[in-house]
């Protein structure tokens, strides 16, 4: 039996923006091939943590390792291993979808034949064929999101970091992404994703961390979280609301409805 490799390891990581403590003494270990989900309300530190793993933000303290590489010391090596989809797609709108993917493929140094095969495959899978020669400025939000996801997958990354990846996607494309994440996990690709849609986290993620005010409240498989919270028959949403102290929403809704 092969020993499981650690894909991502965070030790005592903290990050603040001015007086706001975005992430506080976070410890995390994600094994190779895991689909790991971050859950938490807005401003809980999910995106900040993912950006620190990616090397986009520098931690104030603590250690971050991606496949044994220290992110702060060698971010360039880490970037070669990672595919990243930001919260909202940031694309060159004056390029066509195809030109953008060609650009990304060249930046990752893909060979011409590989580039052609992968771009055509993904465009076809995400139903973007016949639209690939239009400027991105004319794309809908969902189409831009698809292009951003394809761009993150083109170089076959070992680690995928997806910040709200299904936002804006139609049901079919969302299903494709979910199935793809499962398939890639089978091939040893680790995925870290954040989502507000708890059903998606429940269905896709092997392990989940619930974040609140920069700290990790709980971590485990969905079943373990149910057990730990002593709510074995509850939905993930109920566990989430209980853990984050936001379960008492009835009064708020009533007040807003007045």
């Amino acid at each position: 039996m092969s020993k499981t490799q650690t894909a991502v390891k965070l030790e005592n990581v903290s990050k603040s923006f001015g007086t706001i403590q975005a992430v506080q003494n976070l410890d995390l270990q994600i094994d190779d091939g895991t689909v790991f989900g971050f859950l938490g309300p807005n401003g809980s530190g999910k995106s900040t943590t993912m950006k620190m793993i990616m090397g986009l933000l520098k931690a104030d303290s603590g250690d971050l390792n991606v496949y044994g590489t220290d992110v702060s010391r060698n971010p360039w090596e880490v970037k070669k291993l990672v595919g990243y989809v930001p919260e909202s797609p940031r694309l060159y709108e004056f390029l066509t979808g195809l030109e953008y993917l060609d650009f990304i493929a060249d930046v990752y140094g893909l060979a011409a034949e590989t580039k052609k095969t992968r771009i055509e495959e993904y465009l076809d899978a995400f139903e973007l064929e016949n639209r690939e020669n239009e400027m991105i400025s004319g794309y809908s939000h969902g189409m831009k999101q698809k292009i951003a996801i394809i761009a993150a997958l083109l170089h076959k990354p070992k680690l995928l970091i997806l910040d709200e990846p299904l936002s804006g996607l139609d049901p079919k494309s969302a299903r494709i992404v979910k199935d793809l994440i499962h398939k890639l996990a089978g091939e040893g690709v680790t995925t870290i994703m954040s989502t507000h849609v708890l059903e998606i986290a429940d269905a896709v993620c092997d392990r989940i961390a619930i974040m609140y005010q920069g700290s990790k409240l709980a971590e485990g498989k969905p079943a373990e979280l149910r057990k730990e919270s002593r709510m074995p028959d509850s939905t993930l949403e109920e566990i989430f609301l209980k853990l984050t102290g936001t379960s008492d929403i009835k009064d708020i809704v009533e007040a807003l409805g007045k």
């Binding site: 930001p86 694309l91 060159y92 060249d106 400025s137």
Partner: protein, 541 residues
């Protein structure tokens, strides 16, 4: 019509420009960032301009009486103000990021078209306030010195009216482009890119001509004899009203005044109606070629020694240069300056002038070439906008970004400079040593523009895209201009001193050597500074 809402909205529209910053989530602090600065500058500039014009205008008018000059200024002030508003508005529209067009909350709020149009006009005039203050101050100051205050005041009134007429015309254009241009783009494909570049080039040349004092005086003098017969040109009606007031033709004054006011109202009405019809901008999409099997191209740039990533960046930037409407300005300005200089070249070329005087006539095209390279690099990092993230998340090295940005900025002007140098040699027939000195100085200046521009562009980038793409912050622009002036001054100094016979005891070939040494040092410092700034940007975007 809700006047309180109009004023509030005008303030919001103005603030959206004033506060557009790279750092999100914080309101810029400090007095220099306050929206009141514009008004304060205008309030101070008005009396200062009036005082200076009142005291010193005579000194600048060689052989022309102050009264004659004032009459010309007073008559054409309304037309000038209208053109100033139109040009400013057009520039603003062209610089607006295309991706921002349809995301304005204003499109779905319960606001009447007339309220939006008036608010938009007021916010535009807010930005023109300092220029207006200077122009009005000068007019009033001269009118006091020639004892024609009544004409001065009337000219100011019509100047304000002209400015509003220009602003209303811009609103018409804005409303039309919301919808019509979208359909146009869809049909045109690649041709659109070329047409848009051409249209903007024409607008820019017109703008520079209008801002050029020499050109304006030529036009003024040309028209002075015959403006009476220009009654059929509506935008000249305010000028005709002023001229008839000078001639005490009361009936014509009333006729042209009422007509001018009516024309302004008609422009406003058209602007409002078009805004009602074409309220929400339709996002445009250009399909560049029909879908067919994708074949990756083996790049020409690769064979020149660029890495795949560098080639990809260069191609991306060149595409952006021709496709992004907010980028076309950086091609248009150098081309316009080069074209204008051709007129002065035609009129000023004298075969018996000294070589240095003849060389000076090539300043226009040279400025155009250098400006292209300087602006391309100065805006090179900021033009990435929010998509800068692509450079951060991918395994690009800082050196690759620098090499690609420099190549994009240097390639077109490099070839243009070769042509210019050949032309200089054909015209001036320089001896070998002088030719070497000129070539080294010119190419050294070109490389310095690119390296210094990129150093400042990476230190002071402005990634703002909404409501207007700027690419570089004001401090960066000012410092960039200062640095490049000093650097080029140092590089040109050796051949210039030699031409003044100060370094005559030196062999002439020493001058290009000194220029080249200065260039290498400046470029090296610029390169290191760029790398350092990029490292900082990429680590902490």
């Amino acid at each position: 019509m809700n006047f309180k809402l109009i004023l509030h909205m005008a303030k919001i529209l103005a603030l959206s420009s004033v506060r557009a910053k790279r750092t999100k989530g914080s309101v810029p602090t400090g007095f220099a960032k306050s929206p009141l600065v514009n008004i304060l500058v205008a309030v101070i500039a008005f009396p200062v301009a009036a005082f200076l014009a009142n005291r010193f205008v005579g000194a600048f008018l060689e052989g022309m009486s102050v009264s004659v000059f004032f009459v010309q200024v007073a008559i054409f002030l309304p037309s000038f103000m209208m053109l100033a508003a139109i040009m400013y508005g057009l520039l603003f529209e062209f610089s607006q990021s295309s991706s921002a067009g349809s995301s304005d909350a204003i499109n779905w709020l319960p606001i009447r078209a007339v309220e939006f149009v008036l608010a938009s006009v007021l916010s535009m005039i807010y930005f023109l306030a300092p220029i207006l203050a200077v122009v009005f101050g000068v007019t009033l100051g001269i009118s006091l010195s020639v004892n024609m205050v009544n004409i001065g005041l009337l000219s100011l009134v019509f100047g304000v009216l002209g400015m509003f007429m220009g602003a209303f015309l811009i609103e018409i254009v804005r409303a039309i482009t919301n919808r019509v241009s979208a359909s146009f783009y869809k049909r045109s494909g690649r041709t659109t890119v070329a047409i848009r570049m051409l249209v903007f080039l024409v607008v820019m040349v017109a703008f520079i001509l209008v801002s050029n004092v020499n050109f304006l005086f030529t036009i003024l003098q040309h028209f002075m004899g015959g403006i009476e017969s220009a009654w059929f040109i509506p935008i000249l009606w305010p000028s005709l009203a002023i001229m008839n007031y000078m001639n005490t033709a009361t009936l014509q004054v009333i006729l042209y005044s009422v007509s001018s006011l009516g024309l302004a109202i008609a422009f406003l009405w058209a602007g409002v109606k078009l805004r009602e019809t074409y309220w929400v901008p339709a996002p445009f999409s250009i399909k560049l070629k029909p879908s067919k099997s994708y074949t990756p191209k083996r790049g020409f740039l690769g064979s020149l020694g660029f890495t795949a990533a560098e080639s990809a960046l260069i191609k991306k930037d060149l595409r952006g240069l021709t496709r992004r409407k907010e980028m076309i300005i950086w091609i248009a300005i150098p081309v316009a300056i080069s074209l204008i200089s051709l007129f002065s070249f035609q009129t000023s070329w004298e075969t018996n002038a000294s070589t240095i005087e003849q060389l000076a006539l090539f300043w226009g095209p040279l400025m155009g070439v250098l400006m292209f390279s300087f602006y391309m690099t100065l805006t090179g990092i900021g033009q990435e906008g929010s998509a800068f993230l692509n450079l951060v998340i991918t395994p690009l090295k800082e050196k690759e970004i620098v090499r690609s940005k420099l190549t994009t900025a240097l390639s077109p002007p490099f070839f243009a400079l070769i042509v210019l140098t050949a032309f200089i040699q054909v015209m001036l027939q320089l001896r070998f040593e002088a030719l070497i000195a000129v070539i080294v100085a010119l190419f050294a200046a070109l490389f310095e523009c690119a390296f210094v521009g990129l150093a400042l562009g990476s230190r002071f980038p402005d990634f703002t895209e909404v409501p207007r793409a700027r690419f570089i912050d004001q401090k960066g622009v000012l410092l960039g201009m200062l640095f490049i002036a000093v650097c080029i001054g140092v590089t040109f100094l050796p051949p210039f001193l030699y031409s003044l016979h100060i370094l005559e005891w030196f062999p002439l070939l020493a001058a290009p050597v000194l220029s080249a040494i200065a260039c290498v040092l400046i470029c090296y410092v610029g390169y290191r500074a760029t790398l350092s700034s990029l490292q900082e940007l990429i680590r902490q975007p």
